[in-house]
Structure formats: structure tokens, C-alpha cells
Symmetry: C2
């Protein structure tokens, strides 16, 4: 059974702190292995990638078969039932429409000295997207990573998806096709990240790598960070539901389990101002767990990391939520907008009982790649902004240099950087001549 806490109990602060700092993730130390793999791929390119794929995925590839051919992709896509294809297409359309609004604006203006200032946004030229194989191979994640990149204007988008024993998920290929992915390689693990970052004879290097992965992939992304850009290192998923007593306990229970079923390390928390309602949700979870397909995983997550917290009012709920900084936050209350206004840290908010979190995982439009493990305190979900970068622009006129140049010279000299000062002084002298 999960923890039940009441904000009025004497040891609440200690219990809540324990919940806040609970270590949910095993981080096996694979760094040395990953360093060797990256060095091997840098030194031997395709040969190394092919050998490692044979070793880890029991798959014999050649440079010519590292990538899926267009024919193979089309053949796999053709096996997808129409209802699933249409669902993917609807999801893609909605994700594209949402993210298109994130494209940032260039700016240019003249300041009071006559100088022109501004900035310009440009897309990353080439991006790589890692897609896990096996159990966690989610076509929805392909859409969520690939579409923001394409909306940003990334010209070349490559996917790496391992196919252990040659087993391919046609939905992943279809999602990539719908999203406009340019290249799909059937490789995985640290070797795939190394190939994307450094390139091989067959795989051109990219500038940015995103997407989830296991401990090897995460360690490899950390290692190549700097050589290329990376997205966040995602931890186990989590949901916080804030619900009043006017909800159907069964709905809330299912919402909690929809997070718990991801992973034994996932975390589902309910905060309510109605202790009796909290009890009913606990009972509903227990009941639903009896028949749920993934009851072993969901049950372990709920038992080890689940919690029901009873508060006196919704202001207390908001304050606790801000300390948790949850990845997903459902507000199943009478005035969800009013409560949302009190939330300062959260990856995504789902407003009202008609908005189950699963809508955001698939089809709502916003991204489902979101900050975990309290990192919503300082970071955001994946977006178009992850695939663009800003160049600042400055254009002085002789008059504007005369107006502000002397101050730059003063500061340069105060920092002991003479040539900085001289580069301004030479121009000022010409004006004074």
C-alpha cells in the first residue's frame, strides 16, 4: 500500500521531505563501458557500429543495411491498420499545430543612440533522435521529438532505433515517416549516440541529439554533450493529481495507474482536501490493479512510490505541488484555472476532470517530453526552442559609438584588457580627428 499522509500530522514535514528526496532510480555505473564504446566508434566508424550491433542486438548489418531503405520503410508502414494510422496522423497534425505557435520571432530595433540592435533565430542544421527498441519503443515519442525539429526547420533529421533480433515496430517507422524523418538507422545503445555525435563513413554527424534511452544511452549523451547539444536526461515518469471530493474516484484511480504502469520507478501522488475521497481512490486503485494488464509494474510503483496526501485547503495543495514541481499535474477541481494560477513549477498542467493526462501523452498537442525529478524548477519540456538558436546582432554608427564607446573603453581598462579598449579608441580617434 502507498503512503497516506495528512498535512496536520506531527511528522508531516519529515514524511513529505522523504517523499521529495526518495531515490527512485537505479543509476548503474556504465560510464567506463560507454567511454570505450564511444572511443571505438570514433576510431573505427561503421566497423565498430556493426560489430557492437551484432554483439548487443544479435543482428548482422553491413554499411548498406545500417539504414532502413525507403522500400523497407514503406513495406512496414503498409502493415499498420488504418485505425492506428489515422490516430497517428491526427496526433501528428495536432502536435504540429501546437508547436508551430512556438516558433520564436526575430527582432530588430534602433536604440536612442542610433545603434541597430536585435537578434535572429536559425534552426539547427542536423538533429538525431534516439528511439528505444523493445518494450519502451513508443511511436508517440517519435512524433513528440521529430515534429518540433521539423517545425523548427531542421533540414536533416536522423533516427536511431535498435531492432534486437531484427524485430521492428512498424508503428515507429510509420510515425517517423509521418513526421518527415530523413534517415532511420537500425542501431541503438551508446554506439548509436557515438555515431550520431561523431559520424561514421555511412552516418553523417548531427548537431543535436534528443530522445529517451536506457542507462547506456543516457551516459553516452552526457559524454557527447558539448560536441553536440542534447536534451534533458529524463528520469522515471511522475504524476501529481490534485482533486476535490466532487470527482469519480475510479477516474482518478485510473489516472494514477496510467502513470504507475509506465515503470516500477514511476510515481503517482494524489493530493486532496477530502480524506474520505482519498480513501475511495485508494480502494479504487486496489480494485483496478486486480485486472490491469501491467498490474505487476503498476502495483510495484504504487506500493513503493505512490502517496495520498490530505490537506486542509487547495492553497496548501498548490504549495506542496510547487515543492514537488511535478512532471504532470492534473487539477481536478471546481476552478482549475484559479488553482493553476497558484502553480509556479510544473512540466504540464491538465485542467479539469475531463482532461486525463493520457491526452497529453498522445494527442492534446503539447509535448510529452517533460522535466522529471523536480527539474521543472528550472527546465521546460521539449519544444521548437530546442532546435533553434539565437544570434545577437549589433550595428553601431559613428554617432552611437561616440555616445557609448567611451564607457566601453573605461570598463575595458578597469578589467586590464587594453586591446579591448584600443579597438574602441582607434575608432573614436578617427571621429575626433
Amino acid at each position: 500500500m502507498p503512503q497516506t499522509l495528512n498535512i496536520n500530522q506531527a511528522d508531516f514535514e519529515a514524511c513529505f521531505l522523504a517523499l521529495l528526496t526518495a531515490k527512485r532510480e537505479d543509476s548503474p555505473d556504465v560510464d567506463a563501458i560507454v567511454a570505450d564504446i564511444i572511443a571505438d566508434v570514433r576510431a573505427r566508424g561503421d566497423d565498430a557500429v556493426i560489430e557492437l550491433t551484432e554483439k548487443f542486438d544479435r543482428l548482422n548489418l553491413t554499411p548498406d543495411t545500417l539504414a532502413f531503405s525507403r522500400e523497407e520503410i514503406m513495406a512496414h508502414c503498409a502493415t499498420v491498420p488504418t485505425v492506428e494510422r489515422e490516430a497517428l496522423e491526427l496526433a501528428a497534425d495536432r502536435i504540429r499545430a501546437y508547436h508551430a505557435r512556438q516558433l520564436p520571432q526575430d527582432a530588430q530595433w534602433e536604440d536612442e543612440t542610433g545603434a541597430e540592435l536585435g537578434w535572429r533565430w536559425t534552426p539547427v542544421s542536423a538533429a538525431g533522435l534516439y528511439v528505444p527498441g523493445g518494450l519502451a519503443s513508443y511511436p508517440s515519442s517519435v512524433l513528440m521529438n521529430a515534429i518540433p525539429a521539423k517545425v523548427a526547420g531542421v533540414e536533416r533529421l536522423a533516427i536511431c532505433v535498435p531492432t534486437p533480433d531484427g524485430v521492428t515496430n512498424p508503428l515507429v517507422l510509420l510515425a517517423a515517416h509521418i513526421a518527415g524523418v530523413d534517415e532511420i538507422y537500425r542501431i541503438g545503445g551508446a554506439q548509436a549516440i557515438a555515431a550520431l555525435a561523431y559520424g561514421t563513413e555511412t552516418i553523417a554527424p548531427v548537431d543535436k541529439i534528443t530522445g529517451p534511452g536506457n542507462a547506456f544511452v543516457a551516459a553516452a549523451k552526457r559524454r557527447v554533450f558539448g560536441k553536440v547539444g542534447i536534451d534533458m536526461i529524463a528520469g522515471p515518469s511522475e504524476i501529481l493529481v490534485i482533486a476535490d471530493g466532487d470527482n469519480d474516484p475510479a477516474w482518478i484511480a485510473t489516472d494514477l495507474l496510467s502513470q504507475a504502469e509506465h515503470d516500477e520507478s514511476a510515481q503517482s501522488i494524489l493530493i486532496t482536501d477530502d480524506a474520505e475521497f482519498g480513501e475511495k481512490v485508494m480502494q479504487a486503485v486496489t480494485r483496478q490493479l486486480e485486472t490491469l494488464e501491467r498490474r505487476v509494474i503498476a502495483g510495484a510503483s504504487w506500493r513503493d512510490f505512490g502517496a495520498v496526501i490530505v490537506v486542509n485547503d487547495m492553497a496548501e495543495a498548490a504549495a506542496l505541488s510547487n515543492r514537488l514541481a511535478p512532471e504532470h499535474l492534473e487539477l481536478c477541481v471546481a476552478d482549475p484555472d484559479g488553482l493553476a494560477a497558484q502553480i509556479t513549477h510544473a512540466g504540464a498542467i491538465f485542467l479539469g476532470a475531463w482532461t486525463p493526462e493520457a491526452i497529453g501523452d498522445y494527442i492534446g498537442g503539447p509535448n510529452h517530453v517533460l522535466p522529471t525529478a523536480r527539474s521543472a524548477r528550472f527546465s521546460s519540456g521539449l519544444s521548437v526552442m530546442d532546435f533553434v538558436k539565437r544570434t545577437t546582432l549589433t550595428k553601431m554608427t559613428p554617432a552611437s559609438l561616440a555616445a557609448i564607446g567611451p564607457a566601453a573603453e573605461v570598463l575595458a581598462i578597469s578589467e586590464g584588457l587594453e586591446a579591448h579598449g584600443l579597438s574602441v579608441r582607434a575608432r573614436l580617434d578617427k571621429l575626433n580627428r
Copy 2:
């Protein structure tokens, strides 16, 4: 003497590649030492910070003197000459005005199904800024880090600046005061980063850490990344000047030296379509190096990493520039705006011969914390965006759930996530009843 290359020479591609991949930075492996320091600060808090400060900075502190008092700050600030104070204030005003335009907009709209979608930006609650002590203790960097944070709305901004042997730079304190910094601690190194990330009895933890530092600081920032947000890990500074023959060779030479004087690992490159002009700039650099205060540093940088590249036309210059993805790019050409339009990767562009790069270091308005080592391919300079984060918003109505919910259910089932599907289905069933 630096390298001189002509794009028409037979081995140009090999030489340019060597320039592109030259390792300019020693990265001493201090990771084990840093891990110990962080563990010590986490375990012993103030005591560890105080002991390490005594060891590394030869400074005896107590919990009460870890931070500068308001009186100390004011006393130091009072020693700054008026001309320097006014220059700092002008710089702060201009940086504030530029960055105020970067504040991102919230968004909310209704889609065609009646669902409300959008996002909201909120500031990071607390940020920490590292300021190096000694030679590289730059008040301008305090302004460039602190002002974007304050513009973003960060409530609590703490600075760590080591004061080895008690030596304090009054300009750094004044810059912090002008920028509105809330707390200034006289500690440095990995112990300062650990204190900011994990907190001590005296120093409350922050959510995001920015600012430059030595190898220990950089390693510590990498280690605490995830627990808190960090900015980029900055490498040695660099400038690329693209100049035609209509420039004063002395101006361009000084601009190149203003980057070279930062650091022996800095890099200054000139690309010109006028070989004779390139020669003149080389001669001017040699001449100016005879008297420059920091001639040992600037001379070593120019000798080891400088280059003059002669191209046939400015389109070639732009193409090479995009491969270099320079931190700073000066366009000293007849039509700088036209050339800038061909630039796809650069941290900051300075347009026209009246815009020396040093203006951007101090007073132009844009940030001087910029992506180095070709990372402008995938990242941007520091900005207000580094101190805010986005929460996505989704609010379904019964009708919008009826419209798109079934597709979410299909996708959930295709991914084997039954509870995800059930959380949608339970609501759809209620509608159909």
C-alpha cells in the same frame, strides 16, 4: 606567426579541418577531487565550505562572515571612481533594456474541438552566479549573468566570488549591487558550486547556476547538473573577422588582438577576399604586439591559434564562417546586412567596421556569454530564457474529448499501455451513457 591559408591552395581543406578541430583547451582531470569536495560539502555543510576556503583561499571565515555584509558591500562600492561607476551603470541600463525584450509571451487559444491549449512562463525561483576571483574577475560578467536573471523575475539571486587572501574586487561588488543581486558569498571553486546546489546551514540551495569558472568549477557544474540547471560550459573565447580590403588594417588587427589578449587558448581568425589586405593586417598585429600590455598572452594565442584565410569572394567567407560557427563574428564589409543574411551559425554578429567586438563585451546590450568551440551550431548565448521555464496547458471539454479521445485510446493500446487507454475510455463511456 599564425597560419596563412588560401582557399585555392591544394591542401586547403585539410588545413581548414585541422583549424576546425584544433584542441585549444587543456582539460585536467579533476573529476575525482571535485566529487570528494561535493560529497564533503553535502555531508558537513558550512564546516566543509569554511575549511576548503581556508585551504584554497587562505581565508578564515565563520558562518557569519561567509557572506559580505551590506556595510562591507557599500564600503567597497564607495571606493569605485565615478567614471567607472557611471560606465557600469550605463552598461547595466543598456543590458537591461536589451534583455527586457526577450521576456517570452504566454499563450492560450481554443482549438477547433473547443479544447483550450496554451503555455505559461514562470521564472526560476532562485539562481546562483559564479564569479571567478583573481585575473578573470570581470564586473562585466556579473552584469551579463545577473541582469537576465533579474529581468526574468528570479526572486533570489546569490553570487559566489572567491577572495583569495581576502583580496576583493570592488567593481565586482558594485556590479552585483547595480544588478540587484541579493546575497554575495566570498567562496569559490567546487565548494561554492556544491553549496549553491545542495545548500548549507547558511547558504540556501538555488535551482540554477550560471557563470564561468576554472576546471574545478566546470567539473562541479557538470556533476550537479540535474540536481540544478546549469548554463553552458564555456571554452576559450574566439573571434572571426570577415573584412574586405576597404578597412583600416590597424583597426582589424586590434580587433583580432582584443580576443587574443583574453587567454593563450583564445582564437582570432581573419577571412578576407584581399590577400594584400591580409598581409597588412598581419604586419599591424606584429607591430601592435610590440607594445601591448598583455603581449605575452596575446602573442601566444595569435602564434598558436591565429589564422588569416584568403578567399575568392564573400560567399566563400560566409560558407567557411558557418563551418566555424564562431562565438563572435565581425562583418567589416560594404554590405554587412547582406552578408549576415548568409550566416547560419554564430553566437553574436557585429555589423560594419564601426562595431568593434569589444562593444558587445561591455555596453552594446546583447549578452557576452556566448557559445564557444563551434557550439553555436546548436546553442545560444545567455538570455532571459535561461531563467524562465514553460508549463504547457491543456483543458478538454466533454465535446473535445469525444472528438480526439478515441484516437488517444487507440494509440495507448497500440503501445500496450492499458491504463492510459482506460483513463480516456472511462470518460468517453460517461458521455455515451
